[in-house]
């Protein structure tokens, strides 16, 4: 195979993986009632695609090809396993082979998959891992990296979660109306993590782009689905607004060489005005209700302040800081305090901000944004040696090539 044809296949595979993975897994999970089987069959179908597409060319409808192939793989596997474990498997297939159960307002396999992966009977780390694997299509290695644990540990976490879903029979469906609000929070937290992984990839070692619109786009798509289901829910609206206002800046976040551009240096004419307008509209709608906002609504409001400013200098930092103070009252986590310190630096100066950042070291010593924020504050205070050391610490915790390049440039400019 020539290099050009190989590139074309690789591009098609990457695209199909991004766009079709969750759909294939979700379709198979509904058909066979078995997440493990769905994931394995989907993985086999993609592995087969690597061989077949290289030999025969990319099929006209890659998604359909993958779904059909995955179904065949699943049936093959069931036949093999039925010989081994006749009764158990057959019972499962008979139970779940019928038409999908009615699920109410929204009928989307991926949403069903999402609620299953985010089931409250699973611990939060398991929900996040499972959703990123099954819905987000990330590899176990990528997920392990994102959460700073060993790949074997992450693999066990996902395997255990799938085993529990199968053994305890966690149902594959959107919860009933009565259970929905309670089930919402876990789903929102998981979607926000997926969005953030797309916003800034945890690793670009395997050629992953530093920013992955497919992941941010998928997170937004799923939050929109949730919003159809829960139109009056403030936090769903808040998370959607937050994601839209962050996503709106995506094109301005990379320069021509693929380098990251921080918010103050971004060309604001490159922001997506349509997304900004939609985000602002959602924030206004929530304000009008007069209900006390949750964390996503406050974060959305903070981003609304940023995206309302015609220039970085015109940012209403006092308003941003006031919103962070509100957020701290809801969620006094070290990461929130770190972000508040960034706003504090603009209002009260880097010295005050640094004093707020230093006590967070114990909690955030393995968190790259802690060191990057600290480095920036030290640089602004003219403490260049310490700033360079802090940039090095941040670089050491970063596997995103664009982010490394940005930090190296900052470090080298500090002298």
């Amino acid at each position: 195979m020539t290099g050009a044809a190989g590139d074309e296949v690789a591009t098609a595979l990457a695209r199909a993986h991004r766009e079709e993975w969750a759909r294939v897994v979700a379709t198979l999970a509904r058909r066979y009632g078995d997440l493990d089987l769905a994931e394995e069959a989907a993985a086999e179908a993609f592995a087969t695609a690597v061989e077949r597409w290289s030999a025969d060319g990319v099929p006209p409808a890659p998604g359909g090809w993958l779904t059909t192939t995955a179904h065949r793989k699943a049936i093959d596997r069931l036949r093999r396993e039925r010989v081994r474990d006749d009764k158990h498997r057959e019972a499962l297939v008979l139970t779940d082979a019928g038409p999908p159960a009615p699920t109410g307002a929204v009928d989307d396999d991926r949403l069903r998959l999402l609620f299953t992966c985010c089931h409250p009977a699973l611990a939060m780390p398991a929900r996040v891992a499972l959703t990123l694997r099954m819905v987000g299509g990330l590899t176990v290695g990528e997920i392990a990296h994102a959460f700073m644990v060993q790949p074997t540990t992450m693999g066990q976490r996902i395997t255990r979660a799938k085993a529990k879903i199968a053994q305890a029979r966690i149902p594959y469906r959107v919860p009933t109306a009565q259970d929905l609000p309670a089930r919402r929070d876990g789903v929102l937290a998981v979607l926000y993590l997926i969005f953030n992984e797309g916003y800034l990839a945890s690793s670009t070692d395997d050629g992953t782009q530093p920013i992955r619109p497919a992941l941010t786009g998928e997170a937004i798509r799923l939050v929109r689905l949730l919003r159809q289901l829960l139109p009056d829910d403030g936090e769903v609206a808040g998370l959607l607004a937050l994601m839209l206002l962050v996503e709106a800046r995506r094109l301005a976040r990379l320069d021509e060489d693929g380098g990251l551009v921080p918010l103050p240096a971004q060309d604001r004419t490159r922001w997506d005005r349509r997304l900004v307008a939609e985000g602002h509209q959602l924030v206004r709608e929530r304000l009008v209700t007069g209900e006390p906002p949750g964390r996503y609504q406050v974060l959305a409001a903070i981003n609304a302040v940023h995206t309302s400013a015609p220039s970085a200098e015109a940012t209403d930092w006092a308003q941003v800081l006031a919103l962070y103070d509100q957020l701290v009252r809801i969620d006094r986590s070290p990461v929130v305090l770190l972000n508040r310190a960034v706003a504090l630096a603009e209002v009260d100066g880097p010295q005050v901000a640094l004093a707020a950042v230093e006590p967070l070291r114990d909690a955030l010593d393995r968190y790259r944004a802690f060191h990057a924020t600290r480095a920036d504050l030290l640089r602004r205070l003219g403490r260049d040696d310490e700033a360079r050391a802090a940039y090095d610490a941040a670089i050491g915790l970063t596997d995103n090539a664009a982010e490394v390049a940005f930090l190296v440039e900052r470090r080298d400019a500090t002298r």
Partner: protein, 107 residues
């Protein structure tokens, strides 16, 4: 699909009259809705005897297999189509008997 609902408590005090009445009402509902299989209360760890006769070891220990602050004081075995239903029943069970409930599927 059957689930074991273990009743977890930190003492051997029996259910109060109010708790007993709530448990009876819950059990009647379980029977009416087709979930009921079996249920019962258990003596505490202080009346447990642990046997280990692996390889004809013939060991008899006066007490539970592991000493814990909380222990199983009773159980329900229920029929439920999936974990969501089992968890809903477990919430009602916990409220009725005023104790913690651990849910496990039968294999």
């Amino acid at each position: 699909m059957q689930y074991l609902l273990s009743v977890i408590h930190d003492g051997t005090d029996l259910a109060t009259d109010a708790e007993m009445a709530a448990i009876d009402a819950f059990n009647d509902q379980l029977r009416a809705d087709g979930h009921w299989v079996f249920a019962g209360g258990l003596g505490g760890p202080d009346v447990a005897t642990t046997i280990d006769n692996r390889d004809d070891a013939g060991l008899v220990v006066d007490g539970p297999f592991v000493e814990t602050k909380e222990f199983v004081v009773g159980f329900w075995i229920l029929e439920a189509p999936d974990l969501d239903v089992a968890l809903r029943l477990a919430r009602e069970a916990s409220k009725a008997c005023h104790r913690k409930i651990e849910v496990r599927p039968f294999l």
